[in-house]
Each structure stands twice: as C-alpha cells, then as structure tokens.
C-alpha cells in the first residue's frame, strides 16, 4: 500500500496576521512557517500505521504546491519519517488550482490523507476536490484510521456522535482532530536523513483560476469587556437578558 499525505505550508498558528498597505496580500515578513496542523496529524497517523502494520505499507509520500521557500516544511515531513516528497513548483492560487496540480501526482496511491482545512485560508476544499478529480471515494471529518487484515476501518465524526466505517481502497481521508495525538518532533538523526531523501520538483500545469481574493479586512475592534463582580452572578444574567438580549 502506498500512502500520500498532502502538506500545506502555513504561518505558525500564533502569528500576528498582517497585510500589505492596500490590503490585497498577506504580509509574510517575519512569519515562521509550519506544516498545517491537520496535515501534520495526518502524517503522524500515517507513520504510526506504517510502523504497526508490518509490511502492508510500502511507502509514505508527502506533496505540496509551493515555491522553493516551502521546502523546509517538506523536509520537516521527511525528517519525522516520510519516505519521499514531491513539490509542485507554483504559487497556490486557489483550492481548485492546488487540487488540480496535486491530481497529476496523486494517481496510483491507495490511501491519500488531507487535512480538513488549512489554518491560513480555511478553505476546507482541496481534499474533496482532489478526490473528485481522481474519481475516488472520500470520507470527511475522519478521526481514526485503522488497517485490519488489509481492510480499512475509518472513524468519522457525525452530528452528535461518531461512526465506524468499512471502506475500500483507493480512498481519500479528510482528517480532523483526534486522528493522532501529538505530532512528532524531528530528531537530529531524522533531520540528517531527510537531507538525502528524494524531493522531486514538478512543473505546474496550466489551470484556470476560479476564485480570487480581492481584499482582506481585519475584524472590527472589540468594545471593552464589561466586568461584573464575583458575587454578582445575578447581575450578569440580568445584563445578558436585558442588555445583550442573548438569554
């Protein structure tokens, strides 16, 4: 079985988000880049599966769409244990553009992992689009993946509960929280080994851009918090009822 994990290169989640002067582009100055948190959990689970399933999983590939600056993120994925990386050399323009680029390398994988969304543009789209482009089944809100005797068992979250599914391969699993506990931290040995692992760079296809961001806006500044004394719970309820009108 061959696994592909889609990797997004995103600003560290503690980043203070800034834009250029006319608010048309994200300002990347001083930003630390990380693997999109859900993609990192997906990779962690893929690595655990490879370690525990004997020889069932032959390799784990990671792939992203990005310029050379994003290779640090792919190298980190290799350093924690992915076997090979693929980078499609283009600026990610929108979700359909990214999914279309990934579709040219995603054929032939049995199991593809995508994060449920990316923490930058919160698009929640690439995984589903890629599955559709490849013509394969997808399951979303996946919180667990097991391989039992070559069969795939998937847990997914549904409204007010969860389900265990039996799925056939190939499959694209769109994963969320719960799929793996803690992401792995690369060890020195892993970092050294990652340098010699294969990272293939592929030229992008010409793909039409379907959506584009016109401007960014920062959220409206919040009014100061109205403080209520510790022993005045009743007053708080009155305010919520009469002033905020939310009770």
């Amino acid at each position: 079985m061959k696994i592909l994990v889609l990797i997004g290169n995103v600003p560290d989640t503690t980043t203070k988000v800034k834009f250029n002067a006319d608010k048309t582009a994200f300002d990347p100055s001083g930003v630390q880049w990380i693997i999109n948190p859900w993609d990192e959990l997906a990779l962690t689970r893929a690595l655990e599966l490879k370690e525990t399933s004997g020889s069932a999983i032959e390799s784990i590939f990671v792939a992203n769409v990005g310029r050379v600056e994003t290779e640090g993120t792919l190298r980190k994925a290799l350093a924690v244990g992915a076997d090979e990386a693929i980078r499609i050399d283009a600026d990610p323009k929108d979700a359909f553009y990214v999914a279309s680029q990934l579709a040219q390398v995603a054929n032939g994988f049995d199991l593809i992992f995508a994060g449920i969304e990316a923490s930058d543009y919160n698009g929640a789209a690439v995984g589903g689009m890629l599955a559709e482009l490849l013509g394969i089944q997808s399951v979303s809100a996946v919180s667990g993946v097991q391989i039992e005797n070559g069969l795939l068992k998937i847990s997914r979250e549904i409204d007010g509960g969860s389900q265990l599914l039996g799925m056939s391969l190939p499959l694209l699993a769109i994963v969320q929280k719960g799929i793996a506990k803690e992401p792995r931290i690369p060890a020195m040995r892993g970092i050294m080994m990652a340098r010699s692992k294969k990272l293939t760079v592929i030229a992008p296809l010409e793909v039409e851009v379907l959506t584009s961001i016109v401007t960014f806006e920062s959220p409206a500044p919040k009014a100061a918090c109205k403080m209520v004394a510790e022993d005045q719970a009743k007053e708080l309820i009155r305010l919520l009822h009469e002033e905020a009108k939310v009770l």
Partner: protein, 322 residues
C-alpha cells in the same frame, strides 16, 4: 437560473442550519431576481419538507432513498449535482458543516464551479459575485470573487440567521439516478449521543477549560448547559487530557462555532482558542486571572473562582427562568 440549497437532515428532521440556508437563499434569490429551490436527500416526511416553505422555498425536491443516510460523499455530490442541473442552478449553497464541507468541494468540481467555503452573510456584490469569508481562523476576513458562471458556497453558521417569509411550496420526488452499487460507504457501527444539543447548532454554548482542574468537576458545567439548553464545549488542553471528548473541542484545530452566547469558564483564551469562537455574538468569560487574554475577546467578564461563580450562576438562571 435559480438558487439551490442542499438541506441537511438529522434523524429525518431538518437541522436548524437548513432553515438558515433557506432564509439566506430566499433573500439572495430575490436580489438576483431568480427562483429558489431545495434538495433533500434521505427519508424526510412530507410535513417536514413543507416547513421549508415557511422560509421562502418555493420548490422542494426530495430523494427519500435511505441509502443517503450513509452520507456517502461521492453519491451525495452526484445527486446534488443532478438536482443543480435540473433546476439550472447558478448558485448552490450548502452549510459549513461536517457534511457540507465534505460535499461542496466535490460538487464544485462536478459543476465546473468556483467554490468558497464559510461565507459570512450575503454577497458584498453580485457583479462580480463577491463574498466575504473568514480567514486565518478568525484573525481576518477576505472578500473573494468567484469568476465562474456557476458558484458553490458554504454558509458559515449563524452568519445570516433564520427569517420567516412563508410561501406556498411544491414538493416533488427526485431521483438522483444512483443505484445501490454507487453507495460504497459501509457503516459498521454508529455511536450517536441522542438528546444532546448539537454543538454546531446551539444558540448557547457552555465551554470550560483547564481551570476546571479535573474531569470529575464538570457536573455544574453540564447542569448549567442543561438549564440553558446549551451545547457543551471545551478547550484544547481539556480534550488532549481526555477529560472531555475531541468532539467538544472548540478552537483553531477543533470546531469553529458562532453561537449567540458563549460562556468560557476557566479558559485563558489562547489565540488558537479565540480563533474557534471569535464569531460568537456575545462572549462571557469567567477566569481567576484578570490578565487572561480571554477578557480582551469577551463582552462580559467575571474575575473570580469558577467553582464559586458556577453555583451562583446556576441559581440565577433558575430564577430568571421562573
């Protein structure tokens, strides 16, 4: 030309968000000067389908086949695409929910449509079709133009609201053109918590963090939520510790919610947590640390001991109700 919504149901009843979609689509269709229809998949009774008319939907297509309850992504996307083609939909709207997020991207590829998820409120312009969405998990918004003739969007929960505008609606059976073999998602078991308020559907959410100190201290949180008919949520450390299930985790890597009222007990308000709740209409924070960042995001706050404040709040809510 028309606007189409995909109305999600849960145990045969429409989810609250389906009525919000109906209200939203009715307003959008009026602005565009086109008709509005809905597609419902899975067994939903006629009386329930007719409720969509209260929110302005004139035409309801229903495919009652029980196969759809497996929430098979490929099959549902195929059926919604068929419905969109049948009514000549130029805008297809789904909820920004677990299911909507699963279906909408696939659907957009099928329809050669541009897709924007998590749209907040009505488009800021129709020509070009430009919508506002949250980005960087609540730290900013982006106005995004969709260039294609057909548009697919998912609507952020509670970003428009439910508006009644009763019309006479027609209900017709719809055949998605699928056979049993097209449903390849096999459910082996379902663990459904019944009788609880859906976190993503809840008007009020009661949430608690590490300040609760241990899993066994959740009694008053559950009691307060019960009294308010609220959904239960927690911060990331709480679900990581296993005190509460991952399903309750709200924040950047958990669920993103937008209730009318959000209570944060013993939650310091790390930037990642605020990302998941900042769209709430009103935030109430109770924390012993007066410098906790949660107070910068909150509308109302109490600096104090959660274990002292909770019983008082419970009493006050009981009084307020009676």
């Amino acid at each position: 030309m028309s606007v189409l919504i995909y109305t999600e149901n849960w145990d045969g009843k429409f989810k609250k968000v389906s009525y919000e979609l109906a209200s939203y689509a009715t307003k959008l269709a009026a602005e565009m000067g086109v008709t509005v229809s809905a597609i419902s998949l899975g067994p939903v009774e006629e009386s329930e389908l007719a409720k969509l008319g209260n929110y302005g939907i004139t035409s309801v297509m229903s495919a009652p086949c029980s196969n759809y309850t497996s929430l098979d992504n490929q099959a549902i996307a195929t059926a919604v695409a068929a419905a969109a083609k049948k009514v000549g939909a130029t805008v297809v709207i789904l909820a920004q929910s677990n299911l909507g997020k699963a279906i909408a991207p696939r659907l957009s590829v099928k329809l050669n449509a541009g897709f924007v998820s998590g749209v907040q409120g009505l488009p800021v312009s129709l020509q070009p079709f430009t919508v506002k969405k949250m980005v960087f998990t609540g730290k900013a918004f982006a106005k995004t133009t969709i260039h294609t003739a057909i548009k697919v969007i998912t609507l952020a929960p509670n970003s428009f609201g439910i508006v009644e505008s009763p019309v006479q609606s027609t209900i017709e059976k719809f055949d998605g053109g699928l056979s049993d073999a097209d449903f390849t998602t096999k459910i082996e078991s379902t663990n459904k918590v019944t009788g609880k308020v859906l976190l993503t559907d809840a008007d009020i959410v009661v949430s608690a963090g590490r300040g609760m100190k241990a899993a066994e201290n959740w009694g008053p949180i559950e009691e307060l939520a019960g009294l308010l008919g609220a959904g239960l949520a927690c911060s990331r450390p709480v679900s990581d510790e296993g005190w509460r299930s991952h399903g309750e985790h709200v924040g950047q890597t958990g669920k993103i919610i937008a209730p009318n009222l959000y209570f944060a007990f013993g939650i310091s308000g790390a930037i990642q947590h605020l990302g998941g709740v900042s769209s709430s209409k009103c935030i109430v924070a109770i924390n012993k640390d007066k410098d906790a960042p949660i107070f910068e995001a909150a509308d109302y706050g109490i600096v104090g001991d959660v274990f002292k404040v909770l019983p008082q709040l419970i009493e006050a809510v009981k009084e307020n109700k009676s």
